[in-house]
């Protein structure tokens, strides 16, 4: 599915090295957690996959195709086969929840009938059936995050890239969402999820790729959030 060879990413003009010599192979149907400290390069990793950024070095193949070499007009078709949950949601502010989710179908020219059928189903799945006519500004943080999730799933894409999809969700809702992602993964979709939720990573025991300052420091099947003894101790007042 995904084949990353010696990829580096340097952001100009400040020459920030976000990723360095990354080598990863992800098979179809895998579920991968991407972990690492704030600023380690997780979002950058995902951005390279959906071609928001281009690698500075190395090669990045999805389904055998070099993402960086894609013609400009083929990019939308790549993105339609990827369901992306953005860290900052990226909802269209002047469209209702329904329209935001429907938009991912509209770009594929799905029929209006199809849209009317699928959107409510997926909104039901993320627990937002009642908020279908709300605008993003009328939603709580977690609700916005779930709209983003619904939009990523509505298309039934073979690859799902989730950037911190439970960052604004309470533990219970987080687990519901994780169950959903797992179900979709079991139905065949590949999932790559960047997360800080150590309890979730530890609970689900999937492949874990750990980044540290742009380098892969661990790539472990059925891994945990951290191999270090226990999280740093702080002495509360």
């Amino acid at each position: 599915m995904i084949h990353i060879k010696h990829v580096s990413k340097i952001y100009y003009p400040r020459r920030v090295v976000a990723l360095q010599d990354i080598n990863v192979r992800i098979r179809p149907g895998e579920f991968v957690f991407l972990v690492g400290a704030s600023g380690a390069g997780k979002s950058t990793f995902l951005k390279l996959l959906y071609r928001e950024e281009l690698p500075s070095e190395g090669q990045l193949l999805i389904g055998g195709k070099d993402v960086a070499r894609l013609r400009q007009r083929d990019v939308p078709y790549l993105r339609r086969r990827i369901g992306i949950i953005f860290q900052d949601f990226k909802l269209l502010p002047d469209r209702t929840v329904f329209e935001n989710v429907a938009f991912a179908l509209r770009v594929t020219e799905a029929s209006p009938k199809e849209i009317r059928r699928r959107v409510p189903t997926v909104l039901e799945m993320v627990g937002l059936a009642e908020k279908e006519r709300h605008y993003p500004s009328q939603l709580s943080g977690g609700e916005q995050q779930r709209v983003g999730l619904a939009r990523a799933l509505v298309n039934r894409p073979p690859l799902i890239l989730a950037d911190e999809p439970t960052g604004n969700l309470d533990p219970q809702t987080s687990l519901e969402i994780m169950a959903l992602l797992e179900q979709i993964n079991r139905m065949g979709a590949t999932v790559v999820m960047a997360t800080h939720a150590s309890n979730i990573v530890d609970m689900f025991r999937k492949r874990v790729i750990a980044l540290d300052r742009g380098r892969i420091v661990r790539d472990q099947e059925r891994g945990v959030y951290s191999n270090e003894a226990k999280h740093l101790e702080v002495h509360p007042g």
Binding site: Y50, E52, R73, V75, P76, Y77, L78, R79, R80, I84, F86, K90, L91, L92, P93, D94, F103, A104, R106, V107, T108, E109, S111, P112, R151
Partner: protein
């Protein structure tokens, strides 16, 4: 793209206009004001040209003949003059007719004319009109050479004055028009560009969700066209009403000022306005959107 997609695109364009009411009203107002300016200049230039044409068409060469020229020679002269290139009309005016006209013209000084009534010191003449006022002096030169022509007059100073005045008006008007068209296009393109800039975040999100450039561009394009059209229609209505009123008022109070009153050129202006509005809207939004599609 599928019909349902087109329907969606059309809906989007409408939604864009409604959602950004402020921007839309601003854009339509700007289009209207710019096109109004344009229309005004267009009509002014039209009218100046018309005026200049009217004045020019009244220019002619007068060839005074020798006294007591025999009739056959007059006929021959008539033929010779008609043969000159550029001559469009030739009229023979006897000195009796000339005196009558003079009397009619000089109301004030008609005392003098009454005094000379019996002796009529005037001469027979040919009045020669030219197809193109520019040729008048050349024609006058050739006519002067003809036997039997005593003197040629073509109001040299007035002709020159008029010719340069009309060319000033024509070229100045054309330059003005071009300047105004450019200004209008720029102002409208600016207005549309601003509405696009205001939504660049939205465009970026759409691209990330897998929208093709076409799907993003079309609603903007239609939106631009609709805004341009709206501005143009408002302008056309205002111009129609305003100009009709001016024509009416002028014909009532200043009937001698030649104003363009036929519908044909005015309809042309209106049509130009509407086509202009649409084209400007389309071009403005296409150009503006292009730079935001590189996401």
């Amino acid at each position: 793209m599928k019909p349902s997609t087109w329907k969606y695109i059309l809906g989007e364009a409408g939604r864009g206009i409604k959602k950004n009411t402020l921007m839309s009203v601003a854009a339509v107002t700007t289009v209207t004001l710019s096109l109004l300016t344009l229309a005004l200049v267009l009509l002014l230039v039209f009218n100046f040209n018309h005026l200049a044409g009217t004045l020019e068409s009244q220019m002619q060469v007068v060839a005074y003949l020798d006294d007591n020229l025999p009739a056959p020679r007059v006929a021959e002269l008539d033929a010779q003059i008609k043969a000159i290139e550029g001559v469009s009309e030739v009229a023979y005016v006897t000195k009796a007719e000339a005196l009558e006209r003079l009397k009619a013209e000089f109301g004030v000084d008609s005392d003098i004319l009454a005094a000379v009534e019996d002796m009529n010191p005037l001469r027979d003449s040919f009045e020669i009109a030219a197809a193109d006022p520019e040729q008048i002096s050349a024609i006058a030169g050739q006519v002067a050479e003809l036997a039997g022509v005593a003197e040629v007059n073509y109001g040299q100073e007035i002709l020159e004055l008029l010719l340069s005045l009309t060319s000033v008006i024509r070229y100045g008007g054309a330059a003005l028009l071009v300047a105004f068209i450019l200004a209008t296009v720029m102002i409208i393109a600016n207005a549309i560009r601003m509405t696009v800039v205001a939504r660049r975040r939205e465009v970026a999100i759409m691209k990330l969700v897998g929208a093709t450039d076409a799907l993003i561009r079309w609603p903007f394009l239609l939106e631009g066209v609709l805004l341009g059209l709206a501005g143009a229609v408002v302008t056309a209505a205002l111009v129609w009403a305003g100009y009709s009123w001016v024509v009416g008022a002028m014909q009532r109070s200043l009937p001698f000022v030649p104003i363009v009153a036929e519908w044909q050129p005015i309809l042309l202006v209106l049509a130009l306005l509407i086509v202009g509005g649409v084209v400007i809207g389309a071009v403005g939004s296409t150009i503006s959107i292009r730079r935001f599609l590189r996401v």
